[in-house]
Amino acid sequence: MTKVSMTIDGVRYDDDVEPRMLLVHYIREVAGRTGTPVGCDTSNCGACTVLLNGLSVKSCSMLAVQADGAQITTIQGLADGEWHPLQRAFHEEHALQCGYCTPGMIMAAADLLRENPHPTEHEVREGLEGNLCRCTGYQNIVRAVLRAASEGVAS
């Protein structure tokens, strides 16, 4: 067992974990933050994307011990009282159906807009390439990200 300490959605967690424990399993099963789902085992789908010290990572492709000392934001910590502009835009544009990819998609989009506050449609499509959705054909996801960008989400 190895000691880890990290802050998830503003709460500090200190635990002893097996060194091989995936970060996503730590978030879901130790911290009990089940808003972040697991969609694959090869880091292709991006459903488990969270922000680690402000940057998006796929939490299935990191070990919990690698996140020692980190600040992690999941979909459950994104809203600050009110919904984050991306959550609002996803709702308004009907950018989700089953919702399984949604947490990862929104976290990836948040990082995309941090890097590029005013992306073109093409840049949004390229930027979200690492997050798979089976329901929406991405059309409304792209619209939602562009809408959030136009509302100045990054500022």
């Binding site: 009907h94 089953c98 919702g99 399984y100 089976r134 329901c135």
Partner: protein
Amino acid sequence: MTITTEIGKARTRKEDARLLTGQTNWTDNIQLAGLLHIAFLRSPMAHARIRSVDVSAAKGAPGVIAAFSGADFAAEQGSLPCAWPVTPDIVIPAHPPMAVDEVRYVGEIVACVVARNRYAAADALERIDVDYEPLPAVLDMEAALAEGSPKVHEAGNKSFEWPLVSGDMDAAFGDAPVVIERTYRQQRLIPCAMEPRATVCEPVGDEFTLWSSTQIPHVLRFLLAAVLGIPEQKLRVIAPDVGGGFGSKLQATAEEFLTVLIARKLGRPVKWTESRSEGNLAVHHGRDQIQRIKIAADRDGRLRGLSVDLLADMGAYLMLVTPGVPLLGAFMFNAIYKMDAYSFKCTGVFTTKMPTDAYRGAGRPEATFGIEHIMDDLAAELGMDPLELRKRNWITHEEFPFTTIAGLTYDSGNYEAATDKAVELFGYDELRREQAVRRESGDPVQLGIGISTYTEMCGLAPSRLLGQLRYGAGGWEYASIRMLPTGKVEVVTGSSAHGQGHETAWSQIVADRLGVPFEDVKVLHGDTAIAPKGMDTYGSRSLAVGGIALFGACEKVIAKAKVIAAGLLEVSADDLEWTPGRFSVRGDPDKGSSIGEIALATFAAHNLPDGVEPSLDSDATYDPNNFSYPHGTHLCAVEVDTETGEVKIRSYVAVDDVGVVVNPLIVDGQLHGGIAQGIAQALYEEAAYDADGNLLTTTLADYLLPSAADLPTFVLDRTETPATSNPLGVKGVGEAGTIASTPAVVDAVIDALRPLGVTDVEMPCTSQRVWRAINEANGGAR
């Protein structure tokens, strides 16, 4: 019916609030005190006899509570059910949830470990020793049917042969001036719902609650009871939030049965969560047909006859509706076209691969691809524009209702209107001109145009017809309405949503009919203890069947409310007039009672007329008398780089007619996703097995789902021809996009390459395949 603004309104979804904030209740999120974790050991062999399974070392591993092999369940596990014995002499092999004597596909479950956490369970799998005696893999359908082929099952490799003949085939084909014959291949696909499957079972005494990521909690409960002998009333099945299905969760799975069996054996709550690579192996696959199609026509393009001879890969066993899937296509190969004669034959073939079953469209995408693809080939043969060929043969809007050569009666449609709109949006003529210029100049990037004028049968299904087709259940759906004393409304639907948005659309229907605010309606579903009966969600049936049940329940509430209102207002019921939300006295509109006032008065029950029960609650079960028939015209333009084989979708226009639209936002979303899934079949996805029967595409790194960067922006529009077979005029939209889009894309690819001598490219049309087809047409010059 009275139209209010609620039906047709682009309401944003009620479901979103929990999905957007991480408060979703996926099955894998469920925690119970003392919950144990199951890991399954799966066969690495496509076909083998099991000599022995030794789980003793696994039992001693850290954290392990139990380990079992098939022998431990042999006496009680029964056989996974096939509900669709399509012919009287169909071969339905025994299908034990955990293999006992023999394995017949890579991924079949041979043993399991139950441990305190998922890591310990997975670790202990390595300590299980299975001694296999290899048997020959059977992978190719045609070889499987040949004399002397190794057998998948003792009874042989043919499961059934199902024929349909209508009209005089000899007359249609005998002296036909033009007959073309083609063989197309529908590759095997993996549904890949984003949420991997998961199960949790809690035993309490002799009662069980099963949570499962399923589309069919009601059907599953019935089947578990029937197969495992658990009294149905002691079994509760809950589908919590379910992350997509696309047919893959329309199944009674080995994992569900084993979860219940393990919980029963141990008397402790257990959970199983699938990994993606496990899912690619062992979630039922889709499609996989060889289609031999022959079409006869006059020189002017008029169709005379169509002959379809299918080989359908069942995989190793028949699962819930495996043999029925190609039959749904039997009624759709003739599509929107008139012809004199039609014959269809399907042979179900066993191979040592994962069983196939329903996947978005289930039989209709295959049929639509077959007919639309050969219509293009026929147009090329006749030297005719493919759109013109379709126009010469389709059912015109004046001809509805129209009984097709396959025997279905299409109630309504307007193919001309949808096509005209699509052609205009697409800029068909301009694109044809550009195509001519590129062909003329020998542009290395050629332009191709694909057309799909599709229809489908959805709203599954009239029970009587299902009975005639030997399906084991009915096709009705159930809804109930509970009027709460405060005037709010609870709606219970038997249709179990997994991403579609029923909570929103059903609220709109109730708000429309009862005149209550949209916000005041709560929709409950997916739990057999809450929604006592239902046929669940598949086959684009929820709105067209479940929505009509809901409509019926609303009518009953109104009828009950009328009697009670008459008592409250001390007038005759005949003097009351209903406008959604309120009964008022005819000629004295100020005098009346709102539905909320009536609900409260019914709750108090102080002044009800004699003999009237104190309840407005109502339920209704609706059995459709016909399928519904959405249709539309999809046009796709692709650019094909003839030097690299790369295909790029340049534009995609879809004009669909799904009847009356309850929520345009949801309808467009269904189409977007459906079109994407059809494009995925056309260009990207294939479940590939190697020569030994190992699945090569076990991960999402090998099985390529399209990403946002791979897809274009779709241009959508609608025509609205109400269905005449139901009071809402709705048709269904869940599968339309997928059914329509695959042939539009592939036909566009071929259309781009015909001048180069390419006549076909097998799906998926990857760069490599396209390049090879060009190269071969060129005589291998490059």
